[in-house]
Amino acid sequence: MGPITLTVVTPLVGALLLALAPRSRDRDVRAVGLAVSLATFAASLWLLASFDRTQPDLQLVESFTWIPTIGARFAFAVDGVSLVLILLTTFLVPLVLVASWRSVDDRLVGYTAAFLVLEAAVIGVFATTDLLLFYILFEFTLVPMYLIIGIWGGAGRRAAAVKFFLYTLAGGLLMLVGLLYLQAQTGTFDYVAIRDAIVSGRFVLTDVQQAWLFAAFLVAFAVKVPLFPVHTWLPDAHTEAPTGGSVFLAGVLLKMGTFGLLRYAMPLFPDATTTFAPWLLGVSVVGVLYGAIVALMQADVKRLVAYSSVSHMGFVVLGTFALNDVATTAAVVQMVNHGLSTGALFLLIGFLYERRHTRMIADFGGLAKQVPVMAGLWLLVSLSSLALPGLNGFVGEFPILLGTFATSRPAAVLAAFGAVLAALYLLWAYQRMFHGPLETDANRTTTDLTRRELAVMAPLVVLIVAIGLYPGPLFDLVGPSVDRVLGEVAAAGGLR
């Protein structure tokens, strides 16, 4: 068994173990959950160690027979892009589980198992090279996430879960049609084979075919990102999801959208990519500004962060479709950064919610005096999110904008104002919650972070600072793979 399969299978085995085990004490369930997720993280580190950085194409191939008649296989391989997203996933899951230790005790086995199944599915999405398996896993992630929101969520969880499920499922259906069309034309679901055929000119799609297929894929991924104007499921899902669900949703699930664009939509339909790119830049810029402005007016801090995600993921799509080495590479780096900062923000919101059972900004005030450690971390994470140089957000956002400037000057300049707006909504929220006088009894009795909570935050803080000052390894990991994708898009354009 290779490192990829091990990383996929470990959480599945853990989930199975939990499901089959006789009624066990909560403590044991938590211990098993943590152990399994740490083992998965270790497996992903083995994957990292096995990875050859100098080799830009998909590597560490593992392939098993599945449905030979239609050319579908359990095929896995990673490039730098999928590798960093897998690492992000396996890094976040243990933190999410430990963060939920106090807030979740209802049906704990189910909760832990759902997260482990979700983890396996997401790793599968990033690692598979079979189009059918990709589609199935991409859609399957909805099931555990639906359960996590629908069972362990807030008061309006049912409606939010249904909305989340239907919205994203509908988006995916078009992609399924596109996939089946591709299979009918080529006789295989093997992504690498189809891509190579397209790049080498052995398999030619007309402009019209490309446009339709690209659009089909785009809808699925745009909903997932979520890109303006198909983003409205996200604030509802976030508001009702339990803390762990929000962290995982923002941290990892959204990246399936931007990952899909980069892995599938661009290399498979290169001409459509260059045709659609200007419009995607335009939509991204609107999303950056729109998400930020709407975030300003949110009374619920979780909704505020949800809208900030719409804005920040707009930056990622902007960089992706700027189609140059600087912006597109930085876009991938920014996927990781967004996962870390937004994940950290949702964790802090969760810790505060556990203490106060409210997320209304107006209910807080003056907390910096009462809970200085939480306030300090909140500020640090906010600064990371608003792209302060020295922290991780900047090393993604700045090259995205600098690269985009070469493609579209208005896009880069307008999106740069997103940086002003981000400072405005984040610091304004921080001011209303943590500055000012300590007035209410509830605020005066709020307790600071516990050791367990600090232990959850510490790895995130370390990465936020480390990537901010020394992002080299991350860029080196994703750079060659992104260059390869851009090369594929460019090469196909040259053939015409």
Partner: protein, 656 residues
């Protein structure tokens, strides 16, 4: 003339890449205070009051190292580059933490660490007893480290790293007493206003990179002559946008007066002596680029002149001991921008240095007075402190004479040289505005001085003024000495020691071909300035020193509708509030409504769509304006997307 001779023979620096020696260790200068920040912040509970030792020690190490580097550069003048590890390296964008040390760096290092050390020392006494005493020193160390990164960075992005981190330190220190809502608001206002400038700065970097393929300062300076005049003009104006925010120039100065919410040592160090001069540093650092666009420089000169005059006028009617000094700082920064704009780059830096001395001193003296009067800030509640606080009084007297421009104190030389250059370089209007500003400066500073120290005491009953502790008076005395003789020693005549020292870093203005305004020379211009200053002082003396001020505001001699307008800061804050805050809030509300009702409604399917339409129809009667705005917003969003899309030139490729 002397000037022409000196400017004609601009010596170029050799570029030396070093890894050892004193300059090789320059990376320690920001690193030591950075470690101080982390150490004090993490161990502040355990350290308690001992945090001050750590904080002061870190500042002292930075100062000693800076002196050592200065000795090296003075001994062997050159541009030293200290290569350090990479920061960002993606595609064609390669940025390291490399340091650039030359004559300009040395001047900035000495000012920043020198005043920085004095302010650290002063804070030991000033902040004693504050519940967040240790945290204060952590933040001061963070500021010092950030400012040192700013002046040492060898490329625009590293400079920007320091630029943003000083902004963060400023935010943390303005909001140090965050329990007060107004203080927290002031902190946020400072950060956001600076972010607006940052957008300009970032776009300047994009443009520089798109045009020259590098962000390295030396490479940009080297390649600047190859830029088209249009690009140079845009680039300089974008840099000005960044500089205007950080250095509080029109139209982005509004954050600085509010920043006085921070503890007074912060006002002295960050909001007077060092951080706010970063914009001046940036423009002088890139002066070889500036000289490529005289039009852009003229705009800088006029922005500086307008700011110098406007802020000086507002200062006339401020009643808060720190607000007068704050507007004065805005005004004096305007003079530095005049210097940059009229091609007097070195004079601008000279004024930066002397201003650091006397304005740092004035703020520290103000802090000393507030310390003595139980945090009183109202000038009408002061007076008569000359006997109770002899050291504060004596040093303030020097600072007052220095900022007013009385020879031979420091400010006289530096301000006068800027005005002289404006005249000699043909900027008659700028010269006149600057001269009027000088009269007003002498006026409001005399008013300030008289109201604080002279006449009978007007403080509240129960307050017993006393001189401040030694840790606070030592910095006053040191800065007093520097304010007294700093100008005379550094650059008493135009081509003085500082002027010659800075020659290699100054943009070459010979190609511009400046013509003087008229026949006057330095020998005539200096007496004119002295007369102007005398008028200002005499007028204020007559109005304030010879009058019984115990009636408070009612006896304010500067009256009338214009004076009222000045007191209300020309309503600039109110206008900004109406334009940006009110309009911004309306827009955000409308957009939020659009999001709930239109965007979400539309995509939730036909059922929801009909509901939304029904709501929309109802809105049409009840909330016409909101609906109208909402539709407008959608249209604007579509236009925006289309505008971006239609201008994009998408070709897959590499950015070089």
């Amino acid at each position: 003339m002397l000037l022409a001779a000196a400017a004609g023979a601009t010596p170029a620096n050799d570029i030396l890449t070093v890894t050892d020696g004193v300059v090789g260790l320059a990376w320690l200068i920001p690193t030591v205070p950075a470690l101080g920040f982390v150490a004090v912040l993490v161990a502040r509970r355990w350290l308690a009051a001992r945090a001050a030792y750590l904080g002061v020690a870190a500042a002292a190490v930075a100062f000693v190292l800076s002196v050592a580097v200065a000795v090296e550069v003075i001994g062997t003048p050159a541009t030293y580059v200290r290569e350090l590890p990479r920061w960002i390296d993606v595609g064609g964008l390669t940025v390291g933490f490399d340091l650039l040390v030359d004559q300009l760096t040395v001047v900035m290092l000495l000012v920043v660490t020198g005043v920085g050390l004095l302010v650290h020392l002063y804070s030991v006494g000033y902040m004693l007893g504050d519940s967040r005493f240790a945290r204060f020193f952590a933040y001061l160390n963070l500021f010092l480290a950030s400012m040192l990164i700013l002046v040492l960075g060898s490329n625009l992005l590293t400079l920007f790293l320091g630029w943003e981190l000083v902004g963060l330190s400023s935010y943390l220190l303005i909001g140090f007493w965050f329990e007060k809502r107004a203080y927290a608001t002031a902190a946020k206002k400072a950060f956001i206003t600076n972010r607006v400038g940052d957008v300009a700065f970032m776009v300047a970097m994009f443009l520089a990179f798109a045009s020259l393929g590098t962000l390295d300062l030396l490479a940009i300076i080297d390649a600047a002559p190859t830029l088209s005049s249009g690009v140079t003009f845009t680039l300089v104006l974008l840099l000005l946008g960044g500089a205007a925010a950080k250095s509080a120039q029109i139209p982005l100065y509004v954050w600085l007066p509010d920043a006085m919410a921070g503890p007074t040592p912060v006002s002295a160090l960050i909001h007077a002596a060092t951080m706010v001069t970063a914009g001046v540093y940036l423009t002088v650092r890139l002066s070889p680029v500036l000289v490529g666009s005289v039009d852009a420089m003229t705009i800088i000169a006029w922005i500086g002149a307008a700011t110098a005059l406007l802020a000086a006028l507002i200062a006339v009617r401020q009643d808060d001991i720190k607000k007068v000094l704050a507007y004065s700082t805005v005004s004096q920064l305007g003079y530095m921008f005049i210097g940059v704009g009229v091609g007097a780059f070195r004079e601008g830096i000279f004024h930066l240095v002397t201003h650091a001395f006397f304005k740092g001193l004035l703020f520290l003296a103000a802090g000393s007075v507030m310390h003595a009067l139980a945090n009183e800030t109202d000038l009408w509640r002061m007076g008569g402190l000359r006997r109770a606080m002899p050291v504060t009084f004596a040093t303030s007297t020097i600072a007052w004479l220095a900022i007013s421009g009385v020879p031979p104190f420091a400010g006289f030389f530096s301000k006068d040289q800027i005005l002289t250059e404006a005249y000699l370089h043909g900027y008659g209007g700028v010269y006149l505005v600057g001269l009027v500003g000088a009269v007003i400066t002498a006026f409001y500073m005399t008013r300030w001085y008289v109201m604080v120290f002279l006449g009978p005491a007007r403080h509240r009953p129960g307050v017993h003024p006393h001189e401040s502790p030694t840790s606070m008076t030592i910095p006053l005395v040191v800065l007093g000495l520097l304010s007294a003789v700093g100008g005379l020693v550094l650059n008493p005549v135009h081509s003085g020691p500082l002027y010659r020292f800075l020659a290699p870093i100054s943009g070459d203005i010979t190609a511009i071909g400046y013509e003087p305004v008229g026949p006057l020379g330095e020998a005539q211009l200096i007496p004119i300035s002295i007369v102007a200053v005398t008028i200002g002082i005499a007028l204020a003396w007559r109005l304030y020193a010879r009058r019984d001020l115990s009636g408070g505001r009612l006896v304010e001699p500067v009256r009338g509708p214009v004076a009222e307008l000045l007191e209300r800061r020309l309503l600039v804050d109110e206008v900004y509030e109406a334009v940006f805050v009110t309009f911004g809030t309306r827009l955000a509300r409308a957009l939020t409504w659009v999001d709930r009702r239109l965007v979400d409604g539309a995509v939730m399917g036909s059922g929801a769509l009909s509901v939304a339409t029904g709501r929309l129809a109802r809105r049409a009667q009840t909330g016409m304006v909101r609906t109208y705005v909402a539709v407008m917003v959608v249209v604007v969003a579509l236009l925006l997307a289309a505008a971006v899309a239609l201008t994009a030139d998408v070709t897959v490729g590499l950015v070089r």
